[in-house]
């Protein structure tokens, strides 16, 4: 039986790494070698200053992702690695969306959409407004759908960060 045969799924890999230069390169290099496209990656400090946490979202079949995880765990700077089960994990992403504002009707629309999505208007100018939305990727996608009907000028997303429940 060949190894690479199952279906594609989204996987969230949480990687605790040494906090020092070059680590992101080593991790990214592995994905490059396997020709693997990273959907999103977020890196930041943890409760211990010597470690950082990378949260990596990938699309791939189970076997390939499992293999990648094994290879990742061989990188000397990787302290701990876990494949997160989305059902038991808190997932968050932040998006900043700058919208075109034609008139005051649009301005008030944006305000009320932002409210529905528990977002915040963080900047306003003559012809733009910037909204910050925090939530699961689905929630952000839903907001973006509405936002695009208004007209998105620019957008930036942080990529997913995640932590397991309980324990």
């Amino acid at each position: 039986m060949n190894v690479e045969n199952s279906v594609f799924e989204t996987h969230i890999v949480s990687v605790l790494v040494e906090n020092k230069p070059g680590v992101l390169y080593r991790v990214a290099n592995l994905f490059r070698r396997r020709n693997f496209n990273i959907e999103s990656i977020s890196v930041g400090p943890t409760e211990r200053k010597e470690f950082s946490r990378m949260t990596i979202t990938l699309n791939g079949d189970n076997a390939t992702v499992e293999q990648l995880v094994k290879q990742l765990s061989k990188i000397v700077d990787v302290v701990k690695i876990s494949l997160l089960n989305p059902r038991n994990t808190i997932l968050r992403e932040l998006a900043l969306i700058k919208l075109h504002v034609k008139d005051s009707k649009v301005r008030s629309d944006i305000l009320s959409y932002a409210q529905i999505f528990k977002g915040k208007v963080v900047d306003a100018a003559e012809d733009t407004m910037t909204v910050e939305v925090i939530g699961t990727p689905e929630k952000i996608n839903a907001f973006l759908k509405i936002a695009s009907s208004i007209g998105i000028k620019e957008m930036a997303r942080t990529g997913l960060t995640a932590i397991e429940r309980g324990g």
């Binding site: 039986m1 190894v3 290099n29 592995l30 076997a63 499992e66 293999q67 061989k74 000397v76």
Partner: protein, 580 residues
């Protein structure tokens, strides 16, 4: 505890000595000068190479022959990039090599300074890890860590890139505790998995052991032999595993794979349980993987968890050191099994051997054909002789016809297939084992690539023997062109120098032989010489290596000649191609 104020260079050399380093293979240059200055008065032997690639291959050969890490050294920029092929080679074959490179001063890194190369970036995917100490204090820690990493778990190369100003700077240096370094290594197998494997093995009717380079790396040959004899299970090896099981043992099948022995390739397909240890199911071993033991239950033991399930799904995965795992299996098995003296399977193996010995392996040349040469060579050289090979037909003929009896006596570039590896690796092996004869089985094309090392071999008194199977061709490429490209010989014909003259110009012994008798005399003389001897044997430019599994095909599609793609065992004749 602060022990001393030292320069980075001094600290480096001191640390290397603490690791027991006795010899460094290298070539100096600007960015590593401070280290060479300390080396000048240290008692570490330095062997000057003619090209840094050879320094890495020598360190690699030294490591494989001795089991101790080999150290090579080069300057920044071109020195460092010249090491790259050798490092990649060590990486593919899991050889513990520590490479040390000079780097431009810290303030100039990243600014395209003279002789700057981003060797950390370049070697990240061909090392287990690489370091660039930015302070003197880091140096001893980095060295300790480098040796630990290179030699632990699945061994491999580690690179230390030291900026020139760190070499020069003087600072307080701490003693490094041994426990400073924690390496993750799952050496002991999970007992439940071992139990599952043992259950499979006890009930197997046709067990086969596939032994890879991991057996050699973990010194598991004795454990392997005990287990094989207990189960009466025949042993096939990968190319990297060659020598880990005596090839004159009644249970030895030889090497399996694209140019594997007929009996190994045939028998492995009949196995109902395959115990694969310290191997990685590489494409040259399995050939078309979907045809590789499709119905066998597979137990895969490897210390590197990422190898398990990578190329082949297995039934019982076991992450563990080969020696420990095999010993545990043996222990458990002795409790439920008496040593088998005979079995239907063993009889069947004899039958396969007989069938295979009657297959005519096509060989054009009645005179000095490489198979005959190599069988003859085996008769002449002592059993503990270390053989290295170059890459191409010479390597595959050596694998097929030169039997290896002991671990660490067959050294070849298995993973990367690096032409030019064999000669410097032979020199490195000889440095590690000065009392054992070392022989490089070479092709003319490969030998030329690192033949400048003749000078080093003479200057540094490292006498080895090189046997050039000289077909005036890039033979293996020519074979593929003959078989699969309609004999369109594109860029494979070699116009060689007169090897005897070339060798003698370097101060070594050169001799050309034209018969098996002459070969025998030359070899006997070479074994006595205290200088490197190169024996040039002209062979036919048309000879192919057979058997062969054509690319993309499965083991069962092994062919024995170029005329017919006859499937195994359909062609018979009284000519025995290989005897045991």
């Amino acid at each position: 505890m602060v022990i001393a104020k030292l320069s980075g260079a001094q600290s480096l050399i001191d640390s290397l000595q603490k690791e027991g380093v006795e010899v460094i293979f290298g070539l100096p240059g600007g960015a590593i000068l401070p280290v060479y200055d300390i080396l000048y008065e240290s008692n570490i032997r330095h062997i000057l190479v003619k090209h840094e690639q050879s320094a890495a291959h020598m360190a690699d050969g030294y490591a494989r022959a001795s089991g101790r890490p080999g150290v090579c050294m080069a300057t920044s920029g071109p020195g460092a990039t010249n090491l790259v092929t050798g490092i990649a080679n060590a990486y593919m074959d899991s050889s513990p090599v520590v490479a040390i490179t000079g780097q431009v001063p810290r303030t100039m890194i990243g600014k395209d300074a003279f002789q700057e190369a981003d060797i950390i970036g370049i070697t990240t995917s061909i090392t287990k890890y690489n370091f660039q100490p930015r302070t003197v204090a880091e140096v001893p820690k980095v060295v300790k860590m480098a040796f630990k990493l290179a030699t632990s778990g699945r061994p491999g190369p580690v690179l230390i890139d030291i900026p020139r100003d760190v070499q020069v700077e003087i600072d307080e240096v701490d003693e490094v505790e041994d426990n400073h370094v924690k390496v993750r290594s799952n050496v002991s197998p999970h007992p439940l998995q071992v139990k599952r494997a043992v259950d499979l093995l006890v009930n197997a009717e046709r067990p086969i052991i596939l032994a890879g380079g991991g057996i050699i790396l973990s010194n598991a040959s004795e454990a392997l032999q005990a287990l094989a004899e207990l189960l009466l299970a025949p042993v096939a090896t990968t190319l990297m595993g060659k020598g880990c099981f005596p090839e004159n043992h009644p249970l030895s099948l030889g090497v399996v794979g694209m140019h594997g022995s007929p009996e190994a390739n045939k028998a492995i397909l009949e196995a109902d349980v395959l115990l694969a240890v310290g191997c990685r199911f590489s494409d040259r071993t399995t050939c078309n993987i979907s045809d590789f033991c499709p119905d066998a239950k597979i137990i895969h033991v490897d210390i590197d968890a990422s190898e398990i399930g990578k190329n082949r799904l297995v039934d019982v995965p076991i992450v563990g050191d080969a020696n420990i795992t095999l010993s545990k299996m043996y222990e458990m098995l002795t409790k439920c099994l008496v040593k088998r003296e005979d079995s239907l399977w063993f009889k069947r193996i004899q039958e396969i051997r007989e069938e295979c010995s009657s297959i005519e392996v096509f060989s054009r040349d009645d005179g000095l054909s490489p198979p005959k040469i190599l069988k003859e060579v085996r008769e002449i050289v002592p059993p503990d002789t270390i053989v290295t090979t170059e890459v191409g037909q010479n390597q595959m003929w050596a694998s097929l016809y030169f039997k290896a009896y002991k671990p660490r006596t067959f050294i070849t570039s298995g993973g990367l297939g690096t032409m030019g590896f064999g000669f410097p690796a032979a020199l490195g092996a000889k440095v590690a084992k000065p009392d054992v004869p070392v022989l490089d089985i070479a092709g003319d094309g490969s030998f030329i690539m690192t033949s400048n090392m003749l000078i080093t071999s003479v200057n540094e008194n490292i006498p080895v023997i090189v046997l050039i199977l000289n077909n005036s061709m890039l033979g293996m490429v020519a074979q593929w062109q003959r078989l699969f490209y309609n004999r369109r010989y594109s860029a494979v014909k070699l116009v060689n120098p007169d090897f005897v003259k070339l060798v003698e110009a370097c101060g070594a012994n050169g001799v050309r032989v034209n018969s098996l008798d002459e070969l025998k005399n030359a070899l006997l003389q070479a074994l006595k010489n205290d200088v490197t001897t190169v024996i040039d044997v002209p062979v036919s430019p048309e000879e192919d290596v057979f058997p062969m599994v054509p690319p993309g095909k499965g083991l069962k599609n092994m062919i024995f000649n170029a005329l017919k793609t006859s499937s195994i065992l359909t062609k018979r004749s009284s000519k025995a191609p290989r005897e045991d």
